[in-house]
Amino acid sequence: MSWPVKTIAERTGDLLPGSPWTASVYVLLTILAVTAFMTVTGLVLIYAERKIAAHFQCRLGPMRVGWHGVLQTIADALKLLLKEDIVPRDADALLHILAPVLSFAGMLLVMIALPMSPSLQVADMNIGVLYVTAVSGLGVLGILLGGWSSNNKWSLLGAMRAGAQIISYEVSATLALLVVVLFSGTLQLSGIVQSQEAGWWIWRAHGCGIVAFAIFLIAGTAEINRTPFDLAEGESELTAGFHTEYSGLRFSFFFLSEFLNMFVLAAMTSTLFLGGWMPLHIGHFAVFNGVMDIIPPGLWFTLKTTAMIFLIMWFRWTFPRLRVDQLMRLEWKILLPIGFVNLFVSAACVVTGCYFFAR
């Protein structure tokens, strides 16, 4: 069974020769849909985090606004919207305003490359993986600018921590990513998903996949600044880290991009290692594969991403925070060597064709 991929960008291209107007309306609708999707995902994630955290901590979480507090996030968003917008007197006003936007933009640009189902992907670049790694690094710029422009020593400390942390962990994340690129032989994200038709890379690659998966998850958690790597925020150490001086809507932009970054990480992890929208297939067992195909690809993607998000939240509500030097040690002395060895072993596997269901 083949999976024809048609992206939204391609569909727009198809419309273009007929009538440019229809195409523009289509583009406009797409932009609206992406915005709505991000907002709703953000709200759902924040609600989920609060509920999951609450149940980890033997309490109920929001219960008052709407049924089981489902409208709590909306109420909070409204509150943030109505708050006074403060730019500190001694802050660099332009950079202070620009920082949350940049942070948000970095996440937004990754979002368009995510393959959510064969028909639901905004753009499918042939250098997809490279693109994702490149633009996701933009987020750190927003954090650095935010910390620097606030003119606050705590903010600056948070920003410097974030800078060191995100840039270091990007190395490991990329090494783990390369393992999958090696096995699938393509940089295109939809191609990577297609390459997992006979099975997901997490188990097909003789352990290389699962090691790369673990490294990618750890490094990714560090890149999105979540516990146990939330040093940039470090509430008990740096009050609020890089966003100490932010309030109201600007703060909520940082907050929203943090949560959507978690979605992006979960989606990328499931795309690379868990088959993305590809159903659970085992080699050539046609009956089993056929049964699995009944569940639509979009649902598979949602399920895998949800599972990954739950895992990341589980980390946060279980682990304490690392210290800044331990963080660097973990990356440069532990993850990076393992990542390199893993890459070499995978290369050997690929060259010899020694992995499950190699073509």
Partner: protein, 386 residues
């Protein structure tokens, strides 16, 4: 306040201790009085070199209420309720410290029932105080969940106190001549239910924090305090015992019914944050042991041996008495001129001396270490300022 800062700045202008070959500049940061991990209104002036802490100077006075001075204007019974507001997590031990010095000086009688109740509630409060510390310690290390676990279990002790004493935090329960009220009919049953419950929850505490590799990495070898320095700085309680000095007033100068119960004094070896953590965890278990031994044998008798309204006259002279609270030695020095109000009263509080160890413990560490160390001292700021 400015005095402290300017002396620090004067010190910095002399020589730079920056160790990096790159030229770096040291800078000052005010940690507090409003900061999530200074537990109230403590202010620490930090001299930092990047992330490394070069010097810590605590600045006090943000919650000074003049409790000792107020004590001179009321009678002894009124002073008992003022000390609730010092170390609010061991209000009962504070009550007992004042009660003890007054009873000793005025030669007031007590009976075994009173002493048993006092010992029991103080040990329950020690558990409660350590539970709260455990939760907050986790929070300061960046893990939120322990806080809720600790508070969930602490709630049960608060409920027991509420039934007998009527208050959950500021008790005003132990009074010269007895205890304010007799124990609630449910007290024994509730305490036993709590012990069963809490013993089943201790493994949860260990699984969440003690056995966590990040916790161990962050605590071992951090914030070291040698036994000599701990004694020189006047540290008491778990901070002193973690440094390897087995000093516990409950053992060395037993009061209440401590001489009749069997318990160990946990002692650390190196005096790092891990030892302080371990000592407190072990103390909770020992307190459970003490409560278990006493709960079935509360003697019969009256619980208040004087008329509550009676004026207490303390003979002229200087009197001193001390107890072991959850945080260390609380001593009360009483100067009396023979009237029904103290001439001068002074409290030697454990938190003040314990806090002063931070300068030695945290220098040279990172900001994260400083937070862990401060939290491992377990300070209550109103007890420092009074």
């Amino acid at each position: 306040m400015s005095v402290h800062v300017s002396t620090l700045q004067a010190r910095i202008s002399g020589e730079s201790t920056a160790s990096s070959p790159l030229s770096t500049e040291e800078y000052f940061v005010n940690m507090g009085p409003q900061h999530p991990s200074t537990h109230g209104v403590l202010r620490l002036v930090l001299r930092l070199d990047g992330e490394t802490v070069r010097e810590v100077v605590p600045v006090l006075g943000y919650i000074h209420r003049g409790i000792e001075k107020m004590g001179e204007h009321g009678n002894y019974r009124q002073f008992v309720h003022l000390v609730d507001r010092m170390d609010y997590l061991s209000a009962l031990a504070n009550n007992w410290a004042v009660t003890m010095v007054v009873e000793k000086a005025a030669k007031m009688e007590t009976n075994d029932r009173i002493q048993a109740i006092r010992t029991l509630v103080c040990e329950l409060q020690r558990i409660q105080s350590h539970q709260l510390w455990w939760g907050v310690f986790g929070m300061d290390l960046g893990a939120f969940t322990p806080f809720f676990y600790g508070l969930r279990d602490r709630e049960q002790i608060c409920d027991i106190f509420e039934k007998t004493i009527g208050a959950r935090l500021t008790m005003n329960y132990i009074q010269p001549g007895g205890v304010m009220y007799d124990i609630h009919p449910d007290f024994v049953k509730d305490v036993k239910a709590f012990l069963t419950y809490f013993k089943s929850k201790m493994p949860e505490y260990d699984a969440l924090m003690t056995e966590n590799v990040i916790i161990q990495e962050r605590l071992r070898g951090i914030g070291k305090l040698s036994a000599e320095r701990a004694i020189a700085l006047g540290a008491t309680g778990p901070v002193l015992r973690a440094s390897g000095v087995a000093h516990d007033l409950r053992k060395s100068e037993p009061y209440g019914l401590y001489s009749q119960v069997d318990f160990d004094v946990p002692v650390g070896t190196t005096g790092d944050c891990w030892d302080r953590y371990w000592v407190r965890m072990e103390e909770m278990r020992q307190s459970v042991r003490i409560v278990e031994q006493l709960i079935d044998n509360i003697p019969e008798g009256k619980t208040f041996l004087v008329k509550p309204a009676a004026k207490i006259k303390v003979p002229a002279g200087v009197h001193y008495s001390h107890v072991e609270t959850a945080r260390g030695v609380l001593g009360v020095l009483l100067v009396s001129n023979g009237k029904d109000a103290p001439y001068r009263i002074h409290c030697r509080t454990p938190n003040f001396n314990n806090l002063w160890c931070i300068g030695e413990m945290a220098t040279g560490g990172r900001i994260g270490d400083l937070v862990a160390t401060l939290s491992s001292i377990d300070i209550v700021v109103p007890d420092i300022d009074r």
